[in-house]
């Protein structure tokens, strides 16, 4: 049954904070960094107002924030945090440890360009640097998706046989600081959806003592990595069921990917994050002009939905893949993985890579239109193109 929702005008950061408030985690440890700061600012206000039971741990760095999260999660707590950019980079070491120790922490990321030169605005270089860390990665198009993805993430992370941490990505400033209409669920509905946290092997269960973080050398490390690979496969397997459960409450659809006017499209753009909204606007415009264009939005980047992407793009004439981060000396990450996913399809589309929006450079409808029109005219070139760069 669809729950009664409350319509509010809030930022993406506030949408994150409301989801956290309704999840009511046992422990939140975080350090402020632009543009994540309003997520924690809003959440700690909820904590100060007594709206949550959370132990808020204010630490001296992001390395410490993730370390405190790991300790609390190992103790048996339900744990959440938030960060961005250089903060995520400083966490890097412990980000891997959280995943390999199988601690279901949920972390909001307000995506921002990594230094240097220093920049506080949106791109995906921060989260893309963590794509092999063993975390599930969800990308959101707007504040509504941020809110619902955070709730979904908590349940997904804690699912038996998954037990993996999840990053919920929202574009820094573009989503985190922009006010939009967001429909919030009632507190009790969210509480019931996420359910009670039953920790896997809590350190505080003194009747069943375990050792966390022992030395793991050539005799067992490989086996533990194989278990992590399996956990990601399991995460992919159980996601549709959790998504369906949330759909029953919200009436919205959640899938690894979202196809927008893609079924009969001959030309497609693949992207993720807030740029998907811009591309949808251009798809509508160009459909009005009789052009057969469509969008494939990737919502879940890890586990990477290879089969779904292959099915969705099989038989298209040409596809442009947009990346909001670069891989110096190699193909941009989303392009590289989409290209790889298409290796086995029957009718491979022509592919074109575009990098856009680095360091918060605007991504405009004109950029999306340029990419589509070049696909339609058959203007392809070696290597990647750039949208919004002065050349």
């Amino acid at each position: 049954m669809i729950a009664e929702k409350t319509l509010v005008a809030i930022t993406g950061a506030m949408a994150s904070a409301h989801a956290m408030r309704q999840i009511n985690p046992d422990v939140v440890a975080a350090y402020p960094i632009t543009p994540q700061t309003p997520i924690m600012m809003n959440f700690t206000q909820f904590a100060a107002d007594g709206l949550v039971d959370t132990e808020v741990v204010t630490v001296e760095s992001e390395h410490s924030a993730m370390s405190a999260c790991v300790g609390a999660a190992a103790a048996g707590a339900r744990v959440m945090t938030a960060t961005a950019a250089n903060g995520l980079a400083l966490m890097h070491e412990i980000v891997y440890i959280a995943a390999s120790t199988r601690l279901p922490i949920v972390m909001s990321i307000a995506n921002r360009a990594l230094s240097g030169p220093i920049n506080i605005h949106c791109d995906h270089s921060d989260t893309m640097a963590e794509r092999d860390s063993g975390w599930i990665q969800i990308f959101c198009e707007n504040a509504q998706e941020v809110y619902e993805s955070t709730i979904l993430a908590m349940k997904w992370a804690e699912k038996e046989n998954v037990l993996l941490p999840v990053m919920v990505n929202q574009d820094g400033f573009i989503i985190s600081h922009a006010v939009e209409n967001v429909e919030l669920l009632p507190d009790d509905v969210v509480k019931e959806f996420v359910g009670e946290h039953i920790p896997h092997a809590p350190l505080l269960d003194v009747e069943h003592p375990v050792t966390y973080g022992p030395l793991d050398l050539y005799d067992y490390y490989f086996e533990h990595k194989r278990q992590q690979i399996e956990a990601m496969k399991e995460a992919e397997k159980v996601f549709p069921q959790i998504a369906a459960e949330l759909s029953e409450i919200t009436g919205n659809e959640y899938d690894f990917i979202e196809s927008y006017k893609l079924d009969d499209a001959e030309y497609a753009i693949v992207t993720l994050g807030s740029s998907a909204g811009t591309v949808k606007y251009v798809v509508d415009e160009m459909r009005g002009e009789g052009k057969k264009v469509g969008l494939l939005k990737i919502r879940v980047f890890r586990p990477f939905p290879v089969k779904r992407i292959a099915e969705a793009l099989d038989g298209k004439k040409a596809v442009a893949v947009l990346d909001r981060s670069a891989s110096f000396g190699a193909e941009a990450p989303i392009y590289s993985e989409v290209k790889s996913a298409l290796y086995t399809v029957k009718e491979r589309p022509i592919l074109q890579s575009y990098v856009y929006g680095l360091g918060g450079r605007d991504f405009t409808p004109e950029h999306a239109r340029t990419a589509f029109e070049r696909l339609i005219k058959g203007e392809f070139f070696e290597g990647e193109g750039y949208l919004g760069l002065r050349e």
């Binding site: 390999s100 375990v210 022992p214 067992y220 278990q227």
Partner: protein, 96 residues
Amino acid sequence: MAELKTWKEIPIGGLTEAGSSTRFLTGNWRVERPILNTEKCINCLLCWVVCPDMSIVVEDGKVTGMDLDYCKGCGACAAICPVKAITMEPETKFQR
């Protein structure tokens, strides 16, 4: 060594049973062995305080010896002893 298990047979997350380090006898790392002279010892228990391996054996408030299964021979006990009741001897003297 016990037979190695497959990835399906071991706990996830690198977790192991608690207290398994007691099976790891670190005493064989020792180059020097602490020798206690019970006649000099005043049972102040400072050696018990500083020993990082819980290897000072105390019975009824009195130091009775060292647990050589775990003593790594660091010499902290000999260094702290106010009456020089502990001396460090080369391990080779005892290996025959």
